[in-house]
């Protein structure tokens, strides 16, 4: 009898304990979710506004910079045109039986005569540095203004955060996303322009643009950004047709068409920079959400009032 009563009381006590525990856990999760939502309310409007401003401005600036560079390239295109219309080049070109080989042959000649792959990459890096600095400035302003707002929200729950702690935690997440994207790109055969280590976040994110790994068997040594290869393909197709046909004033026709390469490269570069900035913004948003979640989890325990 006593045993039965003991069991009954034990079960009731257990149920009360489980119920109370459940309530505490439920309440804790609700408070955490509420605090996270408030932290995100503080962060998201300015993050979204910054992102929209960056996407509307920076890709266009990058496009104009590369257009200006190719303007200079066009001033030196005469040597390239006389080279590709020479008999020497014609015999080499005739050995290319498929369009991709012809493209590689023309890109190789372009890099040798007009703009070397090193020069193109250096220019892309310079622009990535300029665009990246703007992105970093925007991100830095965002994180430094975010820290005091979050501190105000979190001060009720625990000691205040040091501003640099929030910034470094956010940066750490974005940095690891950049490195992961570089690794994924490399393993998928799309080596990015970014080197082994990522330095400044903005510049590194822009330099995730993929490189063409050599140009087949015709020019395996040429390593240029993929957007240049894509842009040039349209122009080379036309130039190839002129070189095969060799009728009329084909030199003037080639010269005129090569000038278009600047606009096409600029267009492709703008798209690429836009993609890279959009990726960076996705990582930044993910970092903000993750840190908001973590801060709420660190500060709100079961017995937090």
């Amino acid at each position: 009898m006593q045993r039965r009563q003991f069991l009954r009381q034990g079960l009731v006590g257990g149920a009360i304990a489980i119920g109370a525990g459940g309530v505490l856990f439920f309440r804790r999760d609700q408070v955490r979710a509420d605090v996270t939502a408030r932290l995100l309310d503080e962060a998201m409007p300015s993050l979204t506004a910054n992102g929209a401003a960056e996407l509307s401005d920076l890709p266009l600036r990058a496009r104009e910079e590369i257009r200006r560079y190719f303007h200079g390239v066009c001033l030196n295109v005469a040597g390239f045109v006389s080279h590709v219309t020479s008999d020497d080049f014609a015999s080499r070109f005739a050995r290319c039986s498929i369009q991709s080989d012809r493209d590689a042959c023309l890109t190789d000649a372009f890099c040798r005569r007009v703009a070397s792959e090193t020069e193109i990459l250096a220019r892309v890096e310079t622009i990535a540095n300029e665009v990246g600095s703007e992105l970093d400035r925007g991100w830095s302003t965002f994180t430094t203004t975010l820290a005091p707002k979050w501190n105000t929200r979190l001060s009720a729950y625990n000691r205040p955060l040091v501003a640099t702690e929030i910034t470094s935690r956010l940066d750490g997440i974005v940095h690891s996303e950049v490195l992961q994207a570089a690794r994924i790109g490399s393993s998928a055969g799309q080596r990015p322009a970014l080197g082994e280590t990522a330095g400044k976040l903005g510049e590194s994110a822009v330099l995730l643009l993929p490189l063409a790994r050599g140009l087949g068997s015709v020019a395996p040594h040429v390593v240029i950004p993929m957007f240049v290869v894509l842009a040039a393909a349209h122009v080379w197709e036309y130039v190839s047709a002129q070189l095969i046909d060799r009728r009329g004033d084909y030199q003037a026709a080639i010269s005129g068409r090569v000038a278009l390469i600047g606009n096409r490269v600029a267009g492709e570069f703008e798209r690429e920079v836009r993609r890279r900035i959009a990726d960076l913004q996705t990582w930044q948003e993910r970092a903000v959400r993750e840190i908001a979640n973590r801060l709420a989890a660190e500060r709100i325990g079961l017995l937090t009032t």
Binding site: R68, Y69, F70, H71, G72, C74, L75, V77, A78, G262
Partner: protein
């Protein structure tokens, strides 16, 4: 006597060559960077349109010009490449 004739002929030939070369040089004035640019780029098309030949000028050691989209540019005179051809750098837009 033969020697006198030989010296005379050689001297005349040298003087003639010198005069021809001298007159050739005098008739072919050295082009300014702007004139060379105008000749080199008369058919050039750029991402900003064609170069307007009448707009090409020498200014403060640089070449200035306009493209058909109305933009004004400044570029350094070309530097010589290893293979003897000239190479222009990236132009700057004039604001």
């Amino acid at each position: 006597m033969d020697r006198v004739i030989r010296v005379g002929v050689s001297g005349t030939a040298l003087v003639t060559i010198a005069m021809v070369m001298g007159s050739g040089c005098a008739e072919r004035p050295v082009k300014t960077p702007a004139q060379k640019f105008r000749d080199d780029q008369k058919h050039t098309d750029t991402p900003h349109g064609k170069i307007v030949p009448e707009s090409v000028q020498d200014r403060d050691g640089k070449i200035t010009y306009q493209t058909t989209d109305g933009t004004k540019w400044t570029v350094d005179p070309p530097r010589s490449r290893g293979d003897g051809t000239a190479e222009y750098g990236t132009p700057q837009e004039q604001k």
